[in-house]
Amino acid sequence: MTLPSAPPATGTAPPGSPAPAPAPRAPRRLWRTLSPYTYIAPFFTLFAAFGVFPLIYTAVVSLYRVELQTPGEMEWRGLGNYTALFTDSYFWTALRNTFTIGVLSTVPQLAMALGLAHLLHYKLRGRTFFRTAMLMPYATSVAAATLVFAQLFGRDFGLVNYVLSAVGIGPVDWQTGTLASQVAVSSIVIWRWTGYNALIYLAGMQSIPGELYEAAEMDGASRWRQFVHVTLPGLRPTIVFTAVVSTIGATQLFGEPLLFEGSLSGGISHQYQTLGLYLYEQGWGFFHLGRAAAIAWVMFLLILLLVGVNALIARRRSRTETIR
């Protein structure tokens, strides 16, 4: 895969260059060494102030009592925010929900994306149309998508229940049922991200050398065997990448559960409150910024753990395959 070729550079040599420049004098040489830093300075200034500092300072804030109304006043609490967290049953509910919604949304999403990418990889009439149409949900905001899905999943008059009742199922209470509400919330994630992941997989498939398929074909491998023995191994790095990104995304899930019914508690009995929503509820619902920071830090550690597990699985699988 290569980038679109750059346009031919016109007027490469800036005009009006005088006779060969004399050897650079000391200040000029100094400028030569320093000037690269002026190019990265704008980014790194912003990066330090709004990226790195908040991330690290979250750990500090999590050790203090900080109220939303008086964010300038910090009172030392030690590990108090963490013990309060671990004794709150809603924290554990949110942790469990984050995990189950994460699985419910990530697994079908990536599986379907893989299947769609396989189909998109054929020579197709109107392939740009198919690709673009499938990416459309990705262009929608979480808020807009969730509001539409909340309407579709309405208990009494929602279209989903209407269709289900036509085939003799339901009505399903998509709001109060634990599994039902989590399936509904997950379906928003699946809808928004399946096409995006399909395109990522498609890009990965296109970089698998064609000779591998030709060789497999000569060996008489069926299409399915080609998929399993050529496509899947070739896609491994891409699959790991999407798994990591989706896992991180699932850990952060916030807008979908917030706007599904508009409540900070994620349903009447917290049945679909995620960690992200729990953080927001503690900080901006109950004004406990310190406790919210503790949740953020727990989420950060959780992400590191999940990414580590992901990497381990990927490494072990590649090892077993080389042995085979």
Partner: protein, 278 residues
């Protein structure tokens, strides 16, 4: 993006059938937004539901502008997303150029730090960030969303990868021999070549900025909303008229859909390029 490495097989009927279903599933919620936004609330509660657009679109739009200041929200979103896009593309092209073509001490380490943080969700830093903008008295002001939005580690990496491949070293050397300063080289040589990459980064940045949700609802309120803040207000449980909520959703989604309709091809290309590099 047209290297079809050895795959010359045409898709069969089943392939087209499945892909068409996928397209319909992708498109249906958009269509439904239009249907629901143009119906009365009573229509939406009817069984069987009406599946075609109705006559109440304008009335619902009028109602939603009373519930939430959608006009101001659209304008604010345009200001915020445009500022973030211009600023990000500029910062990332400058830094990407330095990382791709200039030699300086600490280059490898700084790039590694940038790439490492690409995966860390900015959401985790919201509490100190909120304390910071509260201290600066920026709460409810657009710069509180614009400035943090300019930080894009992905953008730096993206522009670096683009320039490593697209910008030949000889071109820079030739300009240097002619006595051009680095600044001059940047504007006269680098930017023209970087333009396709800058365009793709700009598109992706604009969409991300327009759709950003968590930080804007923390930093802004209904007095100074972006579109997403206004949608959160509509979905907050106080507006019970579903068709009005859907009218707001329609208005908030149309601008991105418009961009997507015009430039969808480039966005698809950008995501696929990014994937190969990532």
């Amino acid at each position: 993006m047209t290297s079809y490495a050895g795959r010359t097989r045409h898709g069969g009927k089943l392939t087209y059938a499945i892909l068409t279903v996928a397209v319909l599933v992708s498109a249906f919620p958009f269509y439904w937004t239009l249907v629901a936004a143009s119906r009365s609330n009573a229509d939406l509660a009817r069984v069987p539901p009406s599946l075609l657009p109705g006559p109440h679109l304008l009335r619902n739009i009028e109602a939603v502008t009373l519930e939430a200041d959608i006009g101001k929200a659209l304008l604010n979103s345009l200001i915020v997303s445009t500022s973030i896009t211009v600023g990000t593309v500029l910062c990332c092209t400058l830094a990407g150029f330095a990382f791709a073509k200039l030699r300086f001490r600490g280059r490898g380490a700084l790039l590694a730090v940038t790439v490492a943080t690409m995966m860390i969700p900015p959401q985790l830093g919201v509490i100190p960030l909120f304390m910071l903008i509260a201290k600066l008295q920026w709460v409810n002001q657009l710069q509180s969303v614009i400035l943090p939005g300019l930080v894009s580690a992905f953008g730096v990496f993206f522009m670096r990868q683009f320039l490593v491949q697209a910008l030949p070293d000889e071109l820079i050397e030739a300009a240097r021999v002619d006595g051009a300063s680095t600044a001059r080289i940047f504007w006269a040589v680098v930017v023209p070549i970087a333009r396709p990459g800058m365009a793709v980064l700009g598109l992706l940045t604009f969409m991300t900025a327009w759709n950003d949700f968590f930080w804007p609802i923390v930093a802004l309120s209904s007095q100074e909303p972006t579109v997403q803040v206004a949608l959160r207000q509509l979905g907050g449980g106080y507006v019970h008229d579903q068709s009005v909520i859907m009218a707001g959703t329609l208005l908030g989604t149309l601008p991105v859909l418009l961009v997507f309709g015009l430039l969808g091809r480039q966005i698809v290309g950008g995501i696929m390029q990014g994937a190969v590099k990532g």
